[in-house]
């Protein structure tokens, strides 16, 4: 630690810790996607098409997620319907 360091802000996170935080988030996100089966995007599209027959929704109004726990998989479907 040199004398100039005393003038620097003590609270600002270092750029390396920012990098680590960003990486941990993006890597975790990409790993969950990696474990998803290949059919998921297509299934999502077909679900959207079915709902669209009855309600006018955009493709971003449907969130689909597959979570794997030890012995079961949960398919979570979240549809935001217009008012």
């Amino acid at each position: 630690m040199g004398i100039f360091d005393y003038f620097k802000s003590k609270n600002a996170p270092t750029s390396a810790s920012v990098a680590k935080d960003r990486l941990q988030i993006i890597v975790a996100h990409e790993r969950t996607k990696r474990c998803q089966p290949d059919y998921l995007p297509q299934m999502q599209q077909e679900i959207i098409d079915v709902i669209r027959k009855y309600v006018n929704i955009g493709s971003e109004d449907v969130q689909i997620q597959l979570d794997n726990t030890d012995d079961c998989s949960i398919l979570e479907l979240n549809v935001t319907l217009p008012e």
């Binding site: 630690m1 040199g2 004398i3 100039f4 360091d5 270092t14 750029s15 390396a16 810790s17 990098a19 680590k20 960003r22 990486l23 941990q24 993006i26 890597v27 990409e30 790993r31 990696r34």
Partner: protein
Amino acid sequence: MAKIIVVTSGKGGVGKTTSSAAIGTGIALKGHKTVIIDFDVGLRNLDLIMGCERRVVYDFVNVINKEATLSQALIKDKRTKNLFILPASQTRDKDALTIEGVQEVLEELAKEFEYIICDSPAGIEKGAQMALYFADAAIVVTNPEVSSVRDSDRILGILQSKSRRAEEGKEPIEEHLLLTRYHPGRVALGEMLSVSDVEDILAIPLLGVIPESEAVLKASNQGTPVILDTISEAGMAYGDAVDRLMGEERPLRFLEVQKKGFIKRLLGG
């Protein structure tokens, strides 16, 4: 039975070829018959790093296409006993490599060699997948930098799902992290991801840390693997990494900032 080791990274320019050359040479120096294969079809560079670019007559693709025999294409290293290089083709397109062709060449090499080092091209396309497909072990070369770490994680996913071992449900590929271009001074200042940061994110065993070193460029200028520069930090760090790869215990070196004089320390420079 030969051990097939892929040197891979996803991202380009992180030191795959430098590491392949250094580690291949290090293994051969230990008395194991070793061949390093350049999988970067169209962008061959291992020959330059190994200093044998003027001795290339036939290449990997010639052997696959049966235009040359393996013994015609293999280049015997002039400096290191037990070491051979199989250069990549410079002219042809990446489709020249086929799974069947690569398998045939690897099986023939396995009869004669103890270690087969596959120097992967950058990216996650066919060339890179071909280089890792038959691997028993992988050395994932990573720089302490966001895009390199992310790409390494990507390549780990591919190793775990698209390799032969994964497809056949065999024991997974042995994974090793090789952190290169490490700058202890910048890590101390909080400007660079530390060894433990990268280990936390990638969660694979650490094979070695190669400090940023002028010796690496000097070695490539001269066409000499940097591991032969035994007085340089990078050369010694590669030596340690090879020892660990062979199952020996070696403490990590060159991770601390070098001691500075009083004036420099006072100024924080």
